[in-house]
């Protein structure tokens, strides 16, 4: 999930000096990586003939491939660096975004929502809205998703280029063009199939490159208890190693957030909105080869997501133990030679990684960026082609285009998406404040969209007009609340329930209120308008759809069994680190 740390990284790194330099072995590993991803794209070109191949990876992915790709598309390098920095700043509280902020939602997607997405054979989330509510809600969702996706991709691209400049001394233009054109080539060649194959490869490299830091760090600090003892020694006033015990009040924790914001805002709305309706991640699961694989994929993804804190949060905590002198970005600018906590991950990598391992770690960062960008452009190409271009083409040409025509448009959309992203990256370079506005804009759509989709799936009575007006009211109220706080900061005590609330807390509560407004408006308008006959809701809504049986399979192959196991582990981890 995007956050304001992108802006912080950019502002900080603009004034820093290079942290590490690569040897020839490290460079060789990076070159081999680039050749591999391009080779995969070229190889898969021959298997990408139809629209289903290009946009849905032929709908033949196994649960494992779809599940790993589902997590990898979210595991961008700025996600890795940003949350490691957050762990240094806020301690283990940052883990909430990986546990309560992800696991329940991913399991809910697999068990409850996936059957409807999968059975209706939609190409996209806006495609589902079109089937359920008609053109209005679908177009609103498609246009907002299309634009926001490429803009966010450009912002990530620029932030990544800045990171590479500071960490490795690479030229910004070189980083932007080489990485984005590589992604463009392999997605244009093999479509979603190529994006997914590369995401699985990138997922493995991210883990194998990033695991170096927690393993050697744990050896250095003497295990978990040794690390905690060092943190207490370095920061006797703060509590950085408890998940829930400091969340009784806004002032008791460095994040300035109350447990209600985490549970209801993050855990029940923001995370469900992102993981169940953001097409960037849902598209990966739609590519599964059958319903059981589609249900299992998010569950497998949840299993891996639960352990991502090992490579993201733990390095930040280890930084608190062994690099206690890192400061905030403003202080880092003023003190010569000082480093900010935003640099904690590359600093830890440079601390432990010798020849080759440094290259592997940097490859993990590049792989993270490319998997995120490929996710953005492949989702953009699908939504733009099927949900925006196709209806317009149908109206103008009065006939359906051929499958080959839409594949061609999809390829062009990929190229255009990448160039718009590059353009956004250069625009952000000129006007840094654009970054905050685009990120805020992205957050406006997510929570209300979840309200519209979940009511559409679970409530037969929701009507076409209600779908549009509920979504519209949710988005509008989210924008209004954001503008209110921008214009009058004292409004924070109404929106986030406390004048002490920080940005993250404000986002959580704004998401919660905009979702509630969307749901209320959808319910009220539904009762005022005529519902669709049940026969038109078959395959789209619970109660009108017969979910196919999983057949006579052993219990250990059933998605619900694995979802239960993962949920038990999730609860246990929260209790252990309470």
């Amino acid at each position: 999930m995007p956050g304001n740390f992108h802006t912080h990284l950019v502002l900080l790194f603009a004034s820093s000096s290079s942290i590490m330099s690569l040897g020839w072995v490290d460079s060789l590993l990076i070159i081999i990586y680039f050749l591999s991803v391009l080779g995969i794209g070229y190889y898969l070109l021959r298997f990408t003939k139809t629209g289903d191949d290009f946009f849905m990876a032929g709908r033949e992915m196994t649960a494992w491939i779809a599940g790993l790709s589902f997590v990898a598309a979210n595991l961008g390098s700025l996600e890795l660096m940003g949350w490691a920095a957050s762990a240094y700043q806020y301690g283990i509280l940052a883990t909430h975004w990986y546990w309560i902020g992800a696991i329940p939602a991913m399991l809910f997607l697999g068990i409850v929502m996936m059957p409807f997405y999968y059975i209706c054979k939609t190409h996209s989330v806006p495609g589902y809205l079109k089937l359920r509510y008609g053109e209005g809600a679908s177009q609103l969702s498609a246009v907002s998703f299309g634009f926001m996706t490429v803009f966010m991709s450009g912002i990530n691209m620029y932030s990544m280029a800045i990171v590479m400049k500071v960490v490795l001394g690479w030229d910004i233009n070189f980083s932007i063009w080489v990485s984005s054109l590589t992604v463009m080539v392999y997605v244009v060649l093999g479509g979603l199939l190529s994006a997914i194959f590369n995401e699985v490869l990138q997922f493995m490299l991210i883990w194998l490159g990033a695991l170096i830091v927690p393993i050697v760090g744990m050896i250095e600090t003497g295990g978990w208890s040794g690390m905690v003892a060092r943190i207490h020694q370095n920061f006797p006033a703060g509590d950085y190693t408890h998940l829930w015990s400091t969340m009784g009040s806004f002032q008791d924790n460095p994040m300035g957030i109350h447990w209600t914001g985490i549970v209801f805002g993050l855990g029940m709305i923001i995370s469900f909105a992102y993981w169940t309706t953001d097409f960037l991640v849902v598209q990966r699961v739609l590519s599964a080869r059958d319903l059981r694989s589609a249900k299992l994929a998010p569950i497998i993804g949840a299993g891996f997501k639960m352990f991502v804190p090992l490579i993201v949060i733990l390095p930040g905590l280890l930084g608190l133990a062994v690099l206690p002198g890192l400061v905030g970005e403003n202080e880092a600018k003023l003190i010569p030679g000082a480093h900010s906590y935003n640099e904690v991950l590359p600093l830890m990598l440079a601390r432990y990684a010798g020849p080759g391992l440094l290259g592997l770690g940097v490859t993990a960062l590049i792989a993270g960026f490319m998997s995120g960008m490929a996710g953005n452009v492949s989702a953009f190409a699908t939504v733009w082609t099927y949900d925006i271009y196709k209806p317009i083409h149908l109206k103008l040409a009065k006939s359906e285009g051929t499958d080959a025509h839409y594949v061609k448009i999809g390829r062009w959309c990929t190229v255009i998406g990448v160039f718009v992203s590059i353009g956004t990256a250069y625009l952000v370079q000129q006007f840094a404040s654009i970054m905050d506005y685009v990120q805020a804009l992205f957050s406006f759509f997510i929570a209300p969209l979840f309200g519209t989709v979940i009511l559409g799936m679970l409530w037969k009575r929701a009507t076409k007009a209600a779908g549009f007006w509920g979504l519209f009211a949710g988005i509008g109220s989210s924008i209004a609340m954001w503008a209110w706080v921008k214009l009058d900061h004292s409004a924070l005590k109404y929106i986030a329930l406390s004048p002490y609330a920080k940005d993250m807390a404000e986002n959580m509560y704004r998401g919660l209120w905009s979702w509630m407004i969307c749901v209320i408006v959808t319910v009220v308008v539904s009762y005022m308008t005529k519902p669709k006959p049940e026969s038109e809701l078959v395959g789209l809504v619970r109660g009108c759809t017969e979910i196919p049986s999983e057949g006579d399979i052993p219990f250990y192959k059933r998605p619900i069994v694995w979802a239960t196991v993962i949920f038990i582990v999730f609860v246990a981890l929260n209790i252990i680190f309470w």
Binding site: Y33, I65, V322, R351, P355, L357
Partner: protein, 75 residues
């Protein structure tokens, strides 16, 4: 996953990890016996790169062999 594709993604991953493992293992082994002193790393005496390179070789070999495209399929 093979599907229509002759080469499984797991085979590609295995190949890449094998190549990475050989490069990291051999360069760190060389560094162990002929230290260049270019950069000091914490716990360098553990020669972590050698063990990590070996681990990559093992994982890569397993994937490479199990998912090799020329493996005879059971009818």
């Amino acid at each position: 996953m093979v599907g229509r594709h002759k080469i499984s993604i797991w085979f590609i991953i295995g190949s890449l990890l094998l190549i990475y493992g050989v490069i990291i293992f051999s360069s760190n082994l060389y560094e162990w016996f002929f230290p260049s002193q270019t950069r000091t790393i914490v716990l360098g005496e553990l020669h972590f790169g050698v063990w990590w390179g070996a681990l990559l070789i093992i994982i890569g070999l397993i994937y490479f062999i199990v998912f090799r495209p020329w493996k005879k399929s059971v009818a």
